[in-house]
């Protein structure tokens, strides 16, 4: 079927939808783990965009950058999860709205 022909707009649409879902998740959810997962989703949406353009423009630089993003995301996950564990140990809770010590 014509509609499943791989084309640029299709990939970019998927990426955009993923990014939007991720952003909405970060903004609306309160569970720190879920927020984290949404951030990962956003990163992967960006990765998809990069790979897409890399393929369609025939430029390997885009694919290369994806590896960097993955590395950063992994590192970020490590640090972030460690922070979440530390939070949990303190308050037995990971609802971000319960953590507002850094305010005026």
């Amino acid at each position: 079927m014509e509609i499943f022909e791989p084309n640029l707009y299709l990939y970019l649409s998927v990426s955009a939808v993923m990014f939007a879902i991720g952003t909405l998740g970060v903004l609306t959810r309160r569970n720190a783990i879920v927020i984290f997962m949404c951030v990962e989703l956003m990163l992967n949406a960006v990765n998809l965009t990069l790979v897409t353009f890399s393929r369609f423009l025939d430029d390997a630089a885009g694919s290369m950058l994806v590896f960097f993003v993955m590395c950063v995301a992994a590192a970020e996950a490590v640090v972030g999860l460690a922070i979440i564990i530390a939070l949990f140990r303190n308050k037995r809770d990971i609802d971000v709205n319960n953590f507002n010590l850094f305010k005026w």
Partner: protein, 657 residues
């Protein structure tokens, strides 16, 4: 490096060594002979170098340069120095008299806890003074000008624990600042004028004097006037002379060196140096003459009614400086420098003599104030060396024929008179009359102070602690200066002898080549020998008459003489005794309004406007912080929302604009 650089660098080196070692080492401070010897050496060697240059001088000024200071485009201001006739002669006076006073200070300052500081300041002063007189451009000259002012301030306030002495130092500094302001303005004008006239901005004396200073044009007039105002500050003329009598708060060698022989003559030096400009500003010249005459008269009148030996000498210095300005006003620059020289000899000798007297009187512990001549008398018996040198110097300043002061003072009066006669300027007759009258007063009050100090009744009761003669370090400089005070005038014999060819100072040293080439009076032609002899006779009679009268008067009445004069003069004597209330007038007209303006206007402005602005900025920041800090909620979600909103705004902007 040029050997002549040592003239400038040695005094600076001496000051640095004495200052650093004295600061760090307790034991060095106690080595009085070492400090004094080192300090003296650092002035005596430059004296030798200047003397060598002076003796080997052959019509060509010697230049030397230490390093470039400001180089920018065509402007080149360097630490460059010129040894020409004028600066060599001034240099000889400064380092020569300076060396003697250094030697004297070794004895005089003995036991003072600030001994090393005293020599540090003295050496620093000599350094600054040499910059002033040897500098070949106005910038270096001005550095020296400010330097001597600063050293004068340090030394007047040398015993700064005494509030009155600290206040005197401040007064000197402030009065000098007013003159310095005029000096700066004059320098700016000169700088501007050289640039406009030649397209080449410069402050070098050779460039400045090489210009065509049109007679009675605006720049000529203003430069001359401003330099004269600057000179009234440093050289203590009306209206800025008030600091000099108070400056006697400093140690006596300082009074002799700075406030009699050298620093106060720097105004006369500068006007002589810039003489080419002044002779083209006739109005200013007449003004200088009349101001000099008025200063001389005023100071002489005040001196008659003073009882503090140093105050009398201080006012007589102001008066003698007035004479020098009379000579400058008449365009007789070499004559003014001649009087600077003889005055340096006899006045330094008088001051050092008074220091010796004060030393002795304080030692007796019999008098409250060792400077009050009313509690002295008959010191001739105890202090033969001080007496004889003070005596010959008194005769010199009084202008007794054949003593040094006679030649220079007679020449000043002669030149002023010649200006009136040949130039037809009425004002110079007035100056001459005031000058002659002041010369008579000088003879009178100097004889009075000599007589009340060294002769007459012994008015102190020593209780066994008789005053004694000072040590050799103090008497040797006295003898040398006394000798110079007697014979120093023979370098400037009057015109009548061999048509002035025997006048070494104007004929060979300053007169016919080099910087001070012009004698305004020579352009006017010579007065006849008859008139000249008459003038010489007249000034001799004035001097001898003044001394004779005072001598008889005080022999007869002793201290009662003052009371008789007081009764004769009545109100005028009170005015003289109270210095014509000039200090009080300044207090009322200048200082009070300034203090009032300070407390009533400036302080209010400061408190409400300036402080208001500063505090207002603080309050505003606090207020804004109070408003905007509410953004910082501490909820991660809020921050994320703000980031997203920011991104949206940016994207919107990028897409649509």
């Amino acid at each position: 490096m040029d050997i002549n650089s040592l003239i400038i660098l040695l005094p600076l080196f001496g000051a640095a060594i004495i200052g650093i070692l004295g600061f760090v080492s307790e034991s060095f401070r106690k080595q009085e002979a070492l400090i004094g010897g080192l300090g003296t050496l650092m002035v005596a060697v430059p004296f030798g170098l200047i003397l060598m240059n002076f003796l080997g001088y052959h019509e060509h000024p010697v230049h030397f340069r230490i390093f470039d200071w400001i180089v920018s485009g065509t402007i080149n201001v360097s630490f460059g120095y010129t040894l020409d006739e004028l600066s060599l002669l001034m240099g000889l006076i400064v380092t020569g008299v300076g060396s003697l006073i250094h030697i004297y200070s070794i004895g005089y300052m003995h036991g003072d806890k600030g001994y090393y500081k005293f020599f540090l300041y003295l050496n620093l002063f000599i350094f600054a003074m040499l910059n002033l007189i040897l500098g070949d451009n106005m910038a270096v000259m001005f550095l020296g000008w400010e330097g001597v002012g600063a050293c004068s301030y340090f030394l007047i306030g040398f015993w700064y624990e005494d509030m009155a002495k600290a206040a005197a130092a401040q007064k000197a500094f402030v009065a000098n600042r007013i003159g310095d302001f005029a000096m700066l303005a004059a320098m700016f004008l000169i700088f501007d004028y050289t640039g406009k006239a030649t397209g080449n901005y410069s402050l070098n004396f050779s460039d400045i004097l090489g210009l065509d200073w049109a007679a009675d044009s605006a720049p000529t007039f203003w430069v001359a006037l401003l330099v004269f105002i600057a000179a009234t500050g440093k050289s203590a003329q009306i209206p800025l002379y008030v600091w000099l009598p108070d400056a006697m708060a400093g140690p006596t060698p300082v009074s002799a060196l700075i406030h009699a022989a050298t620093m106060v003559t720097s105004g006369i030096y500068l006007i002589s140096r810039l003489g080419e400009i002044f002779i083209h500003a006739e109005g200013v010249m007449a003004f200088i003459g009349i101001m000099g005459a008025l200063t001389a008269l005023l100071a002489a009148l005040i001196a008659i009614a003073q009882n503090d030996i140093k105050k009398v000498l201080a006012y007589s210095t102001v008066s003698q400086l007035g004479f020098m300005f009379m000579a400058l006003g008449a365009g007789a620059f070499t004559t003014a420098i001649f009087h600077v020289m003889t005055h340096a000899f006899f006045k330094a000798c008088l001051f050092l003599g008074s220091g010796s007297v004060i030393h002795a009187m304080d030692h007796t512990h019999a008098v409250e104030d060792g400077q009050d001549i009313r509690t002295m008398g008959n010191l001739k018996k105890y202090m033969p060396a001080t007496h004889i040198t003070f005596f010959v110097s008194t005769l010199a300043i009084a202008g007794i024929p054949l003593f040094s002061g006679f030649f220079s003072k007679d020449e000043i009066l002669g030149k002023v008179f010649a200006n009136g006669l040949m130039g037809g300027e009425f004002i110079y007759y007035l100056v001459w009359i005031i000058g002659a009258f002041t010369a008579a007063l000088t003879a009178f009050y100097m004889t009075r102070v000599y007589f009340l100090t060294f002769r007459g009744k012994e008015r102190f009761n020593a209780h066994g602690h008789d005053p004694h003669e000072s040590p050799a370090t103090m008497t040797i400089p006295l003898y040398v200066l006394g000798f110079l005070a007697v014979v120093g005038g023979f370098v400037g014999l009057p015109e009548v002898f061999d048509h002035g060819h025997l006048n070494w100072i104007s004929h060979h040293w300053l007169g016919h080549h080099g910087t001070v080439t012009m004698e305004h009076t020579e352009d006017l032609g010579h007065v006849s020998a008859g008139i000249e002899w008459a003038l010489i006779l007249f000034s001799s009679l004035i001097a001898i008459g003044g001394v004779y009268f005072a001598w008889n008067f005080y022999t007869k009445h002793d201290l009662e003489g003052d009371t008789i004069i007081k009764n004769k003069l009545g109100k005028l004597y009170d005015w003289m005794g109270n210095k014509f209330y000039v200090d009080e007038l300044y207090e009322f007209v200048l200082i009070k309004p300034f203090v009032r303006a300070g407390t009533d206007v400036i302080m209010v402005f400061d408190k409400y406007v300036l402080d208001g602005i500063v505090n207002g900025i603080g309050s505003l920041t606090l207020f804004l912080a109070d408003v905007f800090k509410r953004i910082q909620t501490g909820y991660v979600g809020n921050y994320a929302l703000m980031i997203v909103a920011g991104v949206m705004i940016l994207l919107t902007y990028l897409f649509f604009f």
